[in-house]
């Protein structure tokens, strides 16, 4: 796979999918690029039709719009293969359409008809399709799809399926416990999952700066030890490229990826919400960045279509929407007796997993060690933050004297953002307590030491626009891509882990103790 540069956040580039050298930088054919337009436009038209239906009182319950966010739904879903699993949320109708769900399913769902995929049992986009399109229905509680899709990914890996799961969450939804637990579970079990955090700036009436303490939700990924990337959510080509890179990485065993797509919710939370709390200027700012005209411009400028082609596509869309809407409006409501049916599955489904590997392979040699492999014992390493947190007077006083004599190495100077000479407080924090600045051994150590975890050797905060790159700029995916779980099926645990787990003293395979139970330290029963 050729490595390519992809624009990410902070000007740092990322590993991406293979790209041919012609203008179709996304790796898509012309038809595929036109499809991106088709689905975005279809998305917009379906929602416009539903808005009209709502105003005609034909929609049961609430109606949610994804106006302005179509690029995210369509762009991300387009990066998937047919066997992959998706769990769209209410503002990802575009993803459903991209996966092949006809508009009539969406209309009938919102209109509570018997012909809807759930036969009227649930509404909006709460429907799924396990066997065909591999769609998992959401529930109204936010964040709960994340652990579920993590489980789908983990289970699929166990079955030998090389699939990726994808789900979406908003800036507001990323506050829930389910988001946290689900992402953590995905990270710990290396689920092949791509999570799209759609930051549309508003969670109902709560702006992002009142929802969470970080400006960039991709920063959250750090907390789980997974990759986080920011993308311009209104540029469908960007969205596609970054998502494709993430999907490929996840599929190859690189673990979960969090993509933060920045966008704006151009309507209220739902039809009933006029969103007067949104500053008008903000709406104007993002209107200029509407994904649909933006992509249309690209298609025109790159000669991928002409006016006739566009009209043809638009006509196709208009006809489809009209036909499906009529179908929905003429559909009956479900019979009342349906309410009592379907609580339990009593033979109505045959549950069979799809095995893509030899079940015989599952037999494993015994002797899994009863003691975990822990390569570092929680050794204390103080990270230097780009913006140092406030220093208490006590700490400052303690180290100020030494810091003033500090001779800063070139390396250290270069490591400082903006090339500014660090103040006493800033540098003070770099000196481990007890080691003097005149200590040569310490200075040598500082020069040689890296602060990042087992990897490519550059500090986290490094950002040197003035320095010409001597080699490829460091990757955003800071963890080395060592492909864990390449051959997970026949080796005991301690041999399966990637290279990073080999580091540390005394962890040679075969040395692991073989006790069958864990003894508690003297006198302490522990948690039973």
């Amino acid at each position: 796979m050729n490595e390519v540069l992809i624009e990410g956040r902070n000007g740092v580039t990322a590993v991406g999918a293979e790209v041919p050298s012609n203008a179709r930088a996304e790796g898509l054919t012309k038809d595929q690029q036109l499809n991106l337009y088709y689905f975005m436009k279809l998305n917009r038209e379906v929602e416009a039709a539903m808005e009209r239906l709502f105003k005609q009182n034909k929609i049961v319950g609430g109606l949610y719009a994804s106006l302005g966010q179509e690029a995210i739904s369509v762009g991300t879903a387009s990066a998937l293969s047919p066997g992959d699993w998706v769990a769209p949320m209410i503002r990802n109708i575009g993803a459903l359409l991209t996966r092949g769900v006809p508009p009539r399913d969406i209309f009938t769902q919102h209109m509570a008809r018997y012909t809807s995929p759930t036969k009227g049992k649930d509404g909006t986009s709460h429907f799924g399709d396990l066997k065909g399109r591999h769609i998992v229905s959401p529930i109204s509680m936010l964040g709960d799809l994340i652990p579920v899709m993590a489980g789908v990914g983990i289970g699929a890996r166990y079955l030998g399926q090389k699939i990726v799961t994808m789900t979406w969450i908003g800036d507001g939804g990323s506050s829930t416990g389910a988001f946290h637990e689900g992402l953590m579970f995905a990270a710990m079990h290396h689920a092949p999952m791509v999570l799209i955090v759609e930051n549309n700036q508003w969670a109902y009436s709560t702006p992002v700066n009142r929802q969470t303490g970080v400006r960039d939700l991709a920063d959250r990924a750090q907390g789980y030890g997974i990759e986080g990337v920011i993308v311009d959510g209104n540029d469908i080509r960007e969205v596609y490229r970054v998502t494709k890179a993430a999907v490929d990485r996840a599929r190859s065993g690189g673990g979960p990826v969090l993509i933060e797509a920045k966008t704006m919710r151009m309507r209220g939370h739902a039809q009933h919400d006029s969103a007067d709390y949104v500053p008008k200027e903000m709406l104007a700012y993002w209107k200029e960045r509407d994904p649909l005209p933006r992509y249309e411009k690209y298609l025109t400028e790159s000669g991928l279509w002409d006016a006739r082609k566009k009209a043809e596509i638009d006509a196709r869309i208009e006809r489809l929407v009209r036909e499906d809407r009529e179908f929905a409006e003429n559909s009956p409501f479900p019979p009342p007796g349906l309410a009592e049916e379907g609580v339990y599955c009593d033979g109505c489904h045959t549950i069979e997993a799809e095995w893509k590997r030899d079940k015989g392979q599952l037999a494993l040699a015994g002797g899994y060690p009863a003691v975990h492999q822990v390569q570092d014992y929680g050794e204390i390493r103080i990270k230097v933050a780009a913006s140092a947190p406030a220093v208490t007077p006590a700490v400052a006083a303690a180290v100020t004297a030494r810091a003033e004599d500090l001779e800063l190495s070139e390396e250290m100077m270069a490591a400082v953002p903006n090339g500014k000479v660090p103040t006493a407080e800033e540098t003070a924090l770099r000196v481990p307590f007890g080691r003097g600045p005149k200590d040569k051994a310490f200075r040598d150590e500082q020069a040689a030491k890296t602060y990042s975890r087992g990897g490519s050797g550059k500090t986290y905060h490094q950002n040197k626009p003035s320095q010409p790159p001597s080699k490829l700029p460091p990757k955003v995916f800071t963890k080395p891509f060592t492909k864990p779980f390449t051959k997970p099926f026949n080796k005991p645990v301690h041999q399966q882990q990637g290279a990073s787990f080999q580091k540390g003293p005394n962890q040679k395979p075969g040395n692991a103790p073989r006790k069958n139970f864990v003894k508690h330290p003297a006198g302490k029963p522990g948690r039973t």
Partner: protein, 324 residues
């Protein structure tokens, strides 16, 4: 075969099911290397490997959600709650995702959530819960609560093979205290069937879990006074075996329900309503119940003893009912 504790019976069920069907996997906190807080899953990791026996972080929502996702693929995950009390942490996943998926969009969730529950072991208010009624109240789930080693093994197998989500409560007081000889061959116990543990003619005592043994002792004591109690062990709380309950009530015409759950909202109320609806003309006395107090489970032994129904409580209530 040797005598086997209920805990061992559960482990046997897990072993045998995981051997029989590679789609069965286990997820939980500390179940792999440690073998589970109560050692129910001891040996599973060695036999089946870390792909099938997954240690999880302390994230019940994450665990149950992931198991739900695995179920969508057709796997059959068995989730362990370290103490069933912690199921409260993932109440949303259980009641809104797992329970409703089949009804709403036709996606069956063939998973099992199992865990140690019940009091009498000085576990205090957060390690002694009997939360079964929250889930009996949730359509879409099945709730199972065995009282013997034989039933535990058979019901867990049925639960794993069931296409619906099953909550499998294991009374921790019984884990090592009861032993039984189990048949060597594969057997299941059907979900949704109660069982008559002791035949009688004067009154029916309905119960489940650890109190089954208390009630049987009470019945022996009552027999000395000439009161023959019929003891019925519910085994499954949802769906309730109405047939067995009503047959017994029609036979003895007097009903006493005994459970360790709190009084208000406990299944005794539901059973009383059902019996009044379906067998009013067969009642010779009001329906009585012996339950725990309407309080959280207290910690100090004399307090917990007061909280839990004791044999003397059952005997007194049965006596009063028989003489009504």
């Amino acid at each position: 075969m040797a005598q086997v504790t209920m805990l061992e019976a559960i482990r046997q069920a897990m072993f045998e099911e995981m051997e029989r069907d590679p789609a069965v996997v286990a997820v939980g906190e500390d179940i792999g290397v440690y073998g589970g807080a109560f050692k129910v899953t001891e040996g599973l990791l060695a036999k089946f490997g870390p792909e099938r026996v997954m240690d999880a972080p302390i994230a019940e929502t994450g665990i149950v959600g992931a198991a739900c996702g695995m179920s969508f693929l057709g796997l059959r995950p068995v989730v362990e709650m370290q103490f069933i009390d912690f199921i409260a942490c993932c109440f949303n996943q259980v009641t809104n995702f797992v329970a409703k998926s089949h009804y709403l969009w036709g996606a069956p969730v063939p998973m099992v959530i199992r865990g140690p529950s019940g009091g009498g072991v000085h576990g205090g208010p957060f390690h002694s819960a009997n939360p079964e009624m929250y889930f009996v109240h949730t359509p879409g789930l099945k709730v199972v609560y065995p009282s013997t080693a034989y039933d535990a093994k058979g019901l867990l197998k049925s639960a794993i093979r069931d296409n619906n989500p099953v909550l499998f409560f294991e009374h921790k007081y019984l884990y090592r205290r009861i032993k039984e000889e189990l048949p060597a061959e594969d057997y299941t116990v059907p979900i949704g069937k109660a069982i008559v543990r002791r035949e009688g003619s004067d009154l029916t005592i309905l119960t489940y879990a650890a109190l089954t043994h208390t009630v049987l002792e009470a019945a022996d004591e009552l027999a000395k006074e000439g009161i023959e109690a019929e003891v019925v062990d519910l085994r499954t709380l949802l769906p309730l075996d109405r047939e067995t309950i009503l047959t017994s009530v029609k036979k003895t015409n007097r009903l006493l329900v005994v459970h360790e759950d709190t009084r208000t909202g406990g299944i005794a109320g539901e059973i009383a309503a059902i019996v009044c609806e379906e067998a009013f003309d067969d009642l010779d006395a009001p329906i009585a119940r012996v339950t725990a107090l309407d309080t959280p489970v207290p910690y100090s032994p004399p307090l917990e003893e007061r909280f839990l129904p004791q044999r003397s409580d059952v005997v007194a209530a049965a006596r009063k009912l028989a003489k009504y």
